[in-house]
């Protein structure tokens, strides 16, 4: 029996100073159970995607903490894969039900990032990079800046070819009520934003956010029958070196390419069948890489095509990218991002996206990346 997603909930993403990590976890788990009219008695296991709880809050053994909150004794697994923690949790949750270990699982991703000063977030996130990169004083904006400089030079582009991604995703985020930033920005603002890691400016970077998102996955026909649902056609994970120093190329993410090939092969659909995708735009350059490495566009084309706004909702093209606002505008609470991406596909495919609804959507793809490309998760869903 194929796995189906039968419900989704997300908290507001943003600077949520009155809520702790586990306040967000509790809100989202109760939210998805309420949305689906399902009780804990139907849930066989919980998968929890989270990266920084151990580093920033000295808060590990999260499974027992969740059990404590709800009075549970079912298996609860914490999954960590840097910014792909949510996608990895989803992948394992799907494998769990496909193995027959359980029929219905809840998968949640959450992160609490705004309690500490930005430099400590920078340091915590760098735990997902190599020791050599850490000891040089490198940051994640810096790693993507190194890649951006090579890409822009090789294909003759400039910062305008990056700014278009931020402008588009903020336009989409404006329509998403749970997005961190519901603010339209101009190309001029994007280009003039203060430098974070040259050539990347503030508006090339996804924000530091709090948030949680949950999905319910099941193979139980009785639960699928009476609920809005989408089929999981494939969920694939690929890995690569943690360090940029070991890569043959600085203008592509091999893990994305491998995961995408496997996902399209397993789902037996073509790239042209996909009409919406949530791709991992942690930095504007990352969306360009994603479009090429997922195989939607040829290598080197993305810089040219993003400035034509082909994937903006208003332009009604065959493929719309990041209707949630992406990481850029929707926010990037790292453990929650991979779940929110798939949740956005669920909302779109079940016609619940209100003002940002894309018409006649049958297939969607989610792409979640950990680190500078050391992990990639590609998920394809359909109705």
């Amino acid at each position: 029996m194929r796995s189906h997603i039968i419900g989704y909930h997300t908290t507001q993403f943003g600077e949520l100073w009155d809520k702790s990590l586990f306040d967000l976890v509790e809100e989202s788990i109760l939210g998805v159970l309420k949305n689906t009219h399902i009780e804990f008695g139907d849930i066989d296991a919980i998968f929890f995607g989270n990266m920084l709880g151990g580093i920033l809050e000295n808060n590990l053994h999260a499974g027992a903490k969740i059990a404590d909150i709800f009075g549970l004794t079912i298996p609860i697994f914490r999954v960590e894969g840097a910014c792909a923690s949510g996608g990895m949790a989803f992948h394992l949750a799907n494998e769990y039900v496909q193995s027959g270990k359980g029929k219905t699982v809840l998968v949640i991703g959450a992160e609490k990032m705004t309690d500490v000063q930005p430099e400590y977030i920078t340091q915590g996130l760098m735990s997902a990079a190599s020791g050599e990169e850490q000891e040089s004083g490198m940051t994640f904006p810096g790693l993507y800046a190194l890649m951006a400089r090579v890409y822009l030079k090789k294909f003759g582009y400039d910062k305008k070819n990056l700014a278009a991604v931020a402008v588009k995703n903020h336009k989409h985020g404006f329509l998403n009520p749970t997005a961190h930033f519901r603010k339209i920005i101009s190309e001029k603002q994007a280009l003039e934003s203060s430098l974070i890691a040259d050539p990347l400016g503030l508006l090339d970077c996804s924000p530091v956010s709090d948030g949680a998102a949950s999905l319910i996955i099941t193979t139980n026909p009785a639960l699928i029958k009476r609920r809005k649902n989408v089929k999981i056609l494939s969920s694939q994970v690929a890995t690569d070196s943690i360090s940029l120093l070991q890569r043959d190329s600085l203008i592509e993410l091999k893990a994305t390419q491998i995961a995408a090939e496997k996902a399209f092969s397993e789902s037996k659909i073509k790239r042209s069948d996909i009409s919406i995708a949530e791709v991992h735009d942690c930095f504007t350059i990352a969306e360009l890489f994603a479009m090429e490495d997922l195989g939607f566009w040829k290598k080197g084309e993305a810089g040219r095509r993003v400035v034509q706004y082909e994937t903006l909702k208003d332009n009604n093209g065959p493929l719309i990218i990041n209707t949630s606002g992406g990481l850029k505008a929707s926010g990037h609470p790292v453990g929650a991002t991979g779940i929110k991406q798939i949740g956005e596909l669920y909302i779109q495919l079940t016609n619940q996206a209100d003002k940002r609804q894309i018409k006649n959507v049958k297939y969607g793809l989610a792409h979640n990346v950990g680190g500078s490309g050391g992990t990639a998760v590609v998920t394809i869903v359909g109705v």
Binding site: Q117, P118, E119, Y120, T122, Q123, M126, G131, E132, E133, Q134, E135, S136, G137, M138, T139, P141, G142, A145, L146, M147, R149, V150, K153, S194, L195, I196, A197, D198, P199, L200, L244, L245, Q246, L250
Partner: protein
């Protein structure tokens, strides 16, 4: 957490890199550093291919004018104290690059 033993273990391996030459493949200037590097920000990091084919990333030092940092410029690996020390007072030296 960086323990004195971790610093000692790492410093045994970086000495092989000292004095090696290479070329800059890419570079960035960091304006939002981790806390141990806050006192020297902003600073430039270069991604370098060494003569032996190995890639490294390291801060560019002794270069006050960043406008002269360009791809394919030659650099040499040197040793510097860049991070602030931890409470154990072990001085964590690391590699850096100088333009030739």
């Amino acid at each position: 957490m960086i323990s004195p033993v971790k610093v000692w273990r790492r410093q045994k391996t970086i000495r092989d890199l000292l004095g090696r030459k290479g070329v800059i493949l890419s570079w960035t200037k960091i304006f939002t550093p981790p806390p141990q590097f806050k006192h020297i920000a902003p600073y430039t990091i270069v991604y370098v291919k060494l003569e032996n084919g190995q890639n490294i990333c390291a801060q560019l030092v002794d270069c006050l004018d960043n406008s002269i940092v360009v791809d394919n410029k030659e650099v040499v690996v040197t040793l510097r104290k860049l991070r602030e020390s931890v409470s154990d007072d072990v001085i964590p030296y690391t590699i850096a690059c100088k333009l030739i």
